[in-house]
Structures are given as C-alpha cells and as structure tokens.
Amino acid sequence: MKKNMLILLQAAMVIGMILFVHMRMDIPEEKKIAEEKMVDYITSKVDTEAMERRDSQAMKRFLSLDPSSYEYCIYWKAKDTMTADEIVIVRFKGPEQASDFAKKMETRIQDQLDVFDKYAPKQADLLRQATVETYTNYGVYIVSSEADKLQESFEKKIGIE
C-alpha cells in the first residue's frame, strides 16, 4: 500500500474515532434562562407573603456564597425566623462550581438542623427532606414542604425531563 494512502487512511480512522466519541458524549445542556425570567418564575411558585427575596449580604452571611462568582444567584427565605423554608437558584459560570455549591448547601442544611432540631422538629424534618441538586449550568437548593414538586417544575423550566 502506498505510504501516503496509508497515512491518509490512518488519519481518516483517527478523525472517525474522534467524531464518533464526540457524538456519543452526551453532556446534557440545560436552557440558559435570564435572571429576570428566573426571578419571575420563582415569584410565580413561592408564597410571596411568607417569603422574601434576600440580597447578596444575606447570601454571604447565611449561605457562604459569593454571588459575584456566579452568573446570578437568587435567594428566597421565609420571613418568619421560626420557619426553615428557603430557595436558592444559582447559574454557574462553569461546571466546576457545582461541587462547591453542593457542599455549601449541605453545610447550610446541617447548620439549620443544629438550630431547628432542638425546638422545631417539623422544620427539622423539612430540612432533612431538602433537595440539593446540581446540573451543568445550575445549582438548586430547596427547603419546602413541596420541595420535590418545585424541583420537578424547575427541571421542566430548564429543559430537563
């Protein structure tokens, strides 16, 4: 077989393999939803009488999150301090932020449990059923009696079935 033909065929095989692997690599990409639309979405889902949107100071103080390190960070917390309900949605700048976000939310849950376990067992139960979920572009933390429904609705919103 001529040398050039051999090299061409080899190159074709390698390119073929790279393309094949790339096509089979399935990285689920969620829809990138703008902050305002995400805020509208959450507002439609939460009881705005019982919950309020908190600012970046609160995010740093309660969640140890620096909002400037994310595309955006939306934090809703119950107005009543005797209630554990919270919702946090962040959009990552890169997928490498996911594990750090998850760790911080787990720490938040534990901190809240240390407080509510002593005098509010129902709230403690809610915390134990909290959801912390990360996706390629998003991180979500929900403490609510409807945590599962909210998460499902969120996943539909961002295009994951």
Binding site: L6, Q10, G16, V21, I27
Partner: protein
C-alpha cells in the same frame, strides 16, 4: 447478548456452530465467524460496531506501517502513536469523568473496550518486536479482534498466540466435545454458584454483625471468582469449538501460597499482558524494579475502573508483592499451610477495596470484621441467610479447590469409557440445572463486563 442468555445458548450459538460445520476452508469459516461476531457485538447497540470497525482499521493500518519502517526510531514512533490512539480511546470512554470530575458526561462504554484495545496493543507490539508479521487479510485481523468468544470480557489473547490458528485450523469433533463441556462448566459456575453468591452478598449488604461481615466479604470473594472464571471457561470453550486453543485464565487462585502465586493463577491473560507489554518493556526487574512494579500495579488497578478504590486495590497488591520479594518469600516456602492462610487473608481484604464505593466504606467494612464497637457477633438475619444458602456456600468453597479435576481424572483413569459416559451424563444434568437457574432467578450481569 451475554453467554448466560437463553437466546444465545439455544439459538445464536447452536446456529453458528451448525453453519460453521459447512464452511469449506479456513477463509470461508473466518468470514462467517466475523459476520456472526459483528452481529453479536452490535446486538445491544449497532453504533458500537462503527467504533469497533474504526479501531480495527486503525490498528490494521498501523501494523502495516510499523512493518514498512526499517529505522528503529521510526518504528518506535509509529508504535507509540498506535498505542496512544488505542489508550486515548480507552481514556475518553472510561476515565474522562474520573480525571476531570465531569459528572454530567454520560458515556456508555462500548462492550469489551478494555479487552479489545489491549488485544490491539498486543498486535502492534508483537509486530514491532518481530514476534508476528502483520495480518495480510483485514478480515482475519478483524476476526482476531472481534471474535464473539472473547470480545466481551477476554481472555486477552496475544496476537502471536492466535496468529497460526487464524490462518489454518480445522474444526474437530474432539474440540466440539471438550469445548462444549468447558462451556457448560463455565455456565454452571456463573448461573448457579456466582449468582447465588451475589444474592447472599446483596442480602448482607447492610448487616453490621461481625460474622455477617465475614460472610458478606466471603460471598463477594466467591461470587467474583465463579463469575469471571465461569465466563472465561465459556469463552475458552467457545474458542475451542471453533478451533482456537487458548490457555486457561484461572488456575484455582484461592489455592495460592503467596500473592505472587495468586497473580499467576488469577486473570492470567491480564497479568501476562501487563508483564509482557508493560513491566518487561519498562525494564522488569533489571532496572528500577520497584518503580516498575508500582507503575504496573497502579495501571492494573486503574484498568479495572475509574475509581480511587481500584487504584488502592492495585497498589495494595504491589505492597504485598514487594514485601514477598524482599522478605516474606523464604518463610512462605517453608510453611505451606500458613502461606495459604496468609494469602487467603490478604486476598480477602483486597476484595473489600475492590467492591467498596469509596475508601471510607472499605475501611468501615474492614473495621466491621473485628470485634470493635457495640456490635453483635451474629444476628438472626445472618443466621437466616447462611442457613438458606449453606449448601451453596459449601459447594462454592469446595469448587474453589481442584476437587472437580481430581474427581474427573480419577473417574477417567479408573473406568475409561464408562467414566466418560458418567461425566457426559453429569454434564447434561448440570446444563439442565443451569437452564433452570437462568429461567427462575433474576438476571445478574457479569461483574467483569463493567471493565
């Protein structure tokens, strides 16, 4: 399609055997077997046949290129590129998530990837070393890589071992008979013993009593042996039916008298691969012996899976092998019984790292073997599980030894033809029992399929 699948046993395999008998010559037989192999491989996902084809094409062409080079450095370069492309494919599918912590990448690893890429590396290396000449026919080379008897889970047969038989072989009735016996033996090992031990393992997964933990680990030790050696027997049996004669992949590894001995008996084709194609090229025991061993065992662990526990498992064995080299060997040769106990204990602990999801769980399980903390020695759950499976546990332990071979040899030696008939009837009974087990129990996939 797996070997313990009823469709494979009663439809695919008998059909291929029957049609192969009508092939006039080796060339026709090879074309037919290649077709059957690609059908087998593409059964679960036909797209993987494309990747397999590209990989075969790459290695076939690279083998030719190595052969055309006369300059040693150029040969080395082509070999290196050839090997890197094969390893690149392996890394892309198996290790991307592990290396870059990309949890959301969903890569379904093509069946047999670890096995056929290693086979392809042996092909390139054998040509480079002059042990083999490049395969003239692409179809024959494709059969070497994709033969359904070995593509899923090995054995990793080096090209030079199969080269002659690929080109010239005959299908004989002796091979059909002995291959079928081996297949039935392997099937029984898998569906009767391995799958039963798998259920014991699952049942005791959350048991924290001391005795329960010992049985838990023991059941895994037995499961993985019968699962993989069973598969290997089936693969070698199928190979023999079609005229290929491969070395055994297991030689009663739990009878080992040292860890070095264990690795001469367990997954022999993989150990030989790492010895011949990594350890010796690195310098073996002539140069940087300890470093070479660490590299080989690191890679052995990593080959099994993208998890730190597999790496720890590999390095764990490296440690014991080094200790034996430096110090323990003379004592193990002197005290055979103690040597067996020592080897079994080390292997027993080793499996804990192998099956644990993380290092923490592994050490927790090891801790549960000892009378620490406020845990019971035994509880009703363990008594129930052991009681229900006592016969299978005892049989499994018994068949880890060479008792079957001794009984077979004794029977044939003492009684000749009658002994052969007894064995045949026994094999048919075992086959029938295996089919009953397949139909009645829930599906358990092969453990080594995952690698």
């Amino acid at each position: 399609m797996n070997f313990n699948n009823l469709f494979f046993i009663f439809c695919f395999l008998p059909t291929v055997i029957l049609i192969s008998r009508f092939m006039r010559n080796t060339k026709a037989l090879n074309i037919f077997l290649l077709t059957a192999s690609l059908l087998f491989y593409g059964w679960a996902d036909v797209r993987n046949v494309i990747l397999l084809g590209l990989s075969i094409g790459w290695n076939y062409l690279t083998g030719n290129m190595i052969n055309t080079k006369t300059d040693r450095k150029q040969k080395q370069m082509v070999l290196a590129i050839g090997v890197l492309v094969n390893l690149g494919l392996l890394v892309a599918y198996k290790y991307t998530g592990f290396l870059w912590d990309l949890e959301r990448i969903d890569m379904i690893v093509p069946v047999g990837l670890s096995y056929f890429t290693f086979s392809e590396i042996t092909y390139l290396a054998d040509i480079y070393k002059g042990r083999s000449i490049p395969c003239v026919s692409l179809l024959d080379f494709a059969l070497y890589i994709s033969f359904f008897g070995k593509i899923s889970m090995g054995p990793i047969v080096p090209y030079h071992s199969m080269e002659e038989e690929i080109n010239h072989r005959k299908l004989t009735n002796e091979d059909l008979g002995s291959g079928s016996f081996l297949f039935i033996k392997g099937l029984a090992k898998k569906v009767i013993l391995a799958d039963t031990m798998a259920l014991v393992f699952k049942q005791l997964a959350s048991n924290s009593s001391i005795f329960g933990t010992w049985i838990y680990v023991l059941s895994y030790m037995l499961q993985i042996y019968f699962d993989f050696s069973g598969y290997s027997d089936m693969a070698i049996g199928i190979g023999r039916i079609f005229g290929f004669h491969w070395e055994p992949n297991f030689r009663h590894p739990y009878l080992a008298t040292s860890i070095q001995d264990f690795w001469r008996r367990w997954h022999i084709s993989l150990s030989h691969w790492f010895r011949d194609y990594l350890y010796i090229p690195l310098g073996g025991n002539r140069k940087n012996h300890i470093l070479n061993l660490v590299i080989v065992w690191f890679c052995t662990g990593l080959w099994h899976g993208a998890n730190i526990t597999f790496i720890v498992w590999g390095l764990y064995y490296c440690f014991w092998i080094l200790l034996e080299h430096q110090f323990l060997s003379k004592y193990l040769k002197k005290y055979k019984i103690l040597a067996r106990v020592y080897a079994l204990l080390i292997i027993f602990i080793g499996w804990i790292f192998f099956f644990s999801p993380d290092i923490g769980s592994a050490f927790q399980t090891i801790g549960h073997l000892l009378p620490t903390g406020n845990r019971a020695w035994i509880d009703t759950e363990v008594m129930y599980v052991v009681g229900s499976n006592a016969i299978w546990l005892l049989l499994a332990i018994l068949f880890c030894t060479n008792i079957y071979q001794r009984m077979e040899q004794l029977l044939l030696y003492k009684t000749n033809d009658i002994g052969f008939s007894i064995i045949t009837v026994a094999m048919l009974a075992v086959f029938a029992l295996s089919v009953v087990f397949i139909i009645s129990s829930s599906y358990q996939s092969f453990l080594y399929y995952a690698f």
